[in-house]
Amino acid sequence: MIVHAIFFYTFSIIAVVSAIMVTASKNTVHSVFFLILDFISISCLFIMIGAEFLGMIMLIVYVGAVAVLFLFVVMMLNVAQQKNQWFAGEQSSRHIPVGLIISTLIFFEIIIVIGGWKYKPEIFDINNSLANTNVSNTHSLGQILYTDFIHVFQISGMILLVAMVGAIVLTFRQRSGLKRQSYIKQISRERAEGVEVLEVHSNKGVKIDD
């Protein structure tokens, strides 16, 4: 048990400290790296409570894909310059109320959830089959997601799909004058179309355009 506690506190301290460092560090790229560290320690915590599927999915989705794109964007933008402009100008004060509203909302949401959990535990007690330890948690997740909650699951999938299509449509620009490579056209080209034998008269030359 002591070993368990040591591991738990190590991971949770790393998680909390790196979460603080995400907002505290001056360099944006550093804060993305701290975010990654945070994700990794959270997934270690998931594995410790026996939710190894969730932990691994967390690693694959958040660390392997989402955070890579974060890093990608942060490195491409010249964030340092932008930040200086933000903090120097009066623009920065406009963002503070929005941030305050969102953080108070999140705070109350968490309070409601934890309060409900503590005083009305029967609301959250959906299915006792989860407690069955003979089944691996990948199986039990699948059995619940694809039976009791199949509609919710499918709807959330559709919402994600719509969001993805929307993001692509919003950022899609049709540029003119773009030369695209067509493999079929290239492969099916015959010699007759590509090569032409011309008689070149002196001092006249040939017209090669068109």
């Binding site: 070993v3 190894e52 690693l59 694959i60 660390v63 392997g64 890579v68 890093l71 691996s136 990948t138």
Partner: protein, 332 residues
């Protein structure tokens, strides 16, 4: 005291796994260069030791004694961390590879997910190295590799789903045992081909070695590295290639099982079969490097997103419906 004993036992086990892996990485570099030379009718490294077998050792010695240069305008912490991350990630993945039904360091429930997660984390070593170098070529290489690895991970993930549909478990030993009657390379042959090509892209091997395309980017993300740090990148890269070969062997070629289930073959220990299969795949990797010219960047992206992803997704639908209608779904 008892606890310490357990810790020591585990450390011994880990050393017994890691030392052979590192030695075989050195040998595999030699094999790679020999195969490459063989295709091009050259000799390759043949001077140091018998058949040039000690060439990698000589190279390693050279790297150790060279000076490590850290660029003054680089981000030093991340610059030093990058090769360490690459190397560590390439090595920790070996913990779940089963060498026989009992010889495995950690027989975890979600082994294949662990492998997939660790191989998808491999991109961080490259991005960190490229960004921290604070120089144009490494940065371009890092950005290319980020896009490339994220794209090809998607198709590898879908291919893994294909195999898992036939197995019904995420445990690597279960995956091997499910291939007792028929290796998955036969029913899922197109997926094996796509997996092989995606593995080439995932490990930045030619013809997809755009992150270090020497004609355009000097050496890509490795440009600013020297000495032991460069060698660590290099070791990590080859350990990753071996890992991908092991993954292919486990998913499609029956892992540690003998090809035919008859008397003289079953005597050979599983580890030997696994190593032979890994070697077979690696020689294919090396041949591809020698034969195929490098892809252009847009061709690479087109192949990943427009060819492999739809193809492997269609195959998931096919496999799932086949298993469903013929009542072959593995239910336990």
């Amino acid at each position: 005291m008892e606890y310490l004993n357990i810790v020591f036992q585990e450390v011994y086990k880990i050393l017994f796994l890691l030392v052979p892996v590192l030695v075989s990485v050195a040998m595999i570099v030699w094999l790679d260069r020999r195969v490459w030379a063989f295709v091009q009718k050259r000799q390759g490294p043949n001077v140091v030791g018998p058949f040039g077998l000690l060439q990698s050792l000589a190279d390693a010695l050279k790297y150790i004694f060279k000076e490590i240069i850290i660029p003054s305008s680089s981000n030093k912490v991340i610059f030093i961390l990058a090769p360490i991350v690459t190397m560590t990630l390439a090595l920790i993945a070996w913990a779940v590879i089963p060498f026989s039904s009992t010889q495995v360091l950690a027989d975890i429930n979600v082994g294949i997910l662990y492998l997939f997660a660790v191989s998808s984390l491999g991109v961080y070593g490259i991005i960190m190295g490229g960004w921290a170098s604070n120089s144009k070529y490494p940065f371009l290489g890092a950005i290319r590799s980020a896009a490339q690895m994220v794209s090809y991970e998607v198709s590898i993930g879908v291919i893994i789903i294909n195999v898992l549909l036939c197995v019904g478990s995420l445990n690597l030993n279960d995956i091997v045992i499910a291939q007792q009657n028929m290796w998955f390379v036969i029913p899922l042959f197109p997926m094996f081909v796509i997996f092989f090509i995606s593995a080439l892209a995932e490990t930045n091997r030619p013809p997809f070695d755009l992150p270090e395309a020497e004609a355009e980017l000097v050496a890509g993300y490795q440009t600013e590295y020297s000495g032991m740090m460069y060698a660590m990148f290099w070791l990590g890269e080859y350990a990753n290639i071996l890992l991908m070969c092991a993954m292919g062997a486990i998913l499609f070629l029956g892992g540690w099982m003998s090809p035919i289930d008859v008397y003289p073959f079953t005597l050979v220990p599983g580890a030997i079969w696994l190593i032979l299969k890994i070697l077979l795949l690696f020689i294919l990797f090396a041949l591809v490097k020698a034969i195929v010219p490098r892809y252009r960047y847009d061709q690479l992206m087109r192949l990943g997103w427009k060819v492999f992803l739809p193809l492997s997704l269609t195959w998931v639908v096919l496999t799932a419906s086949y298993l469903f209608y013929f009542n072959l779904l593995p239910v336990n």
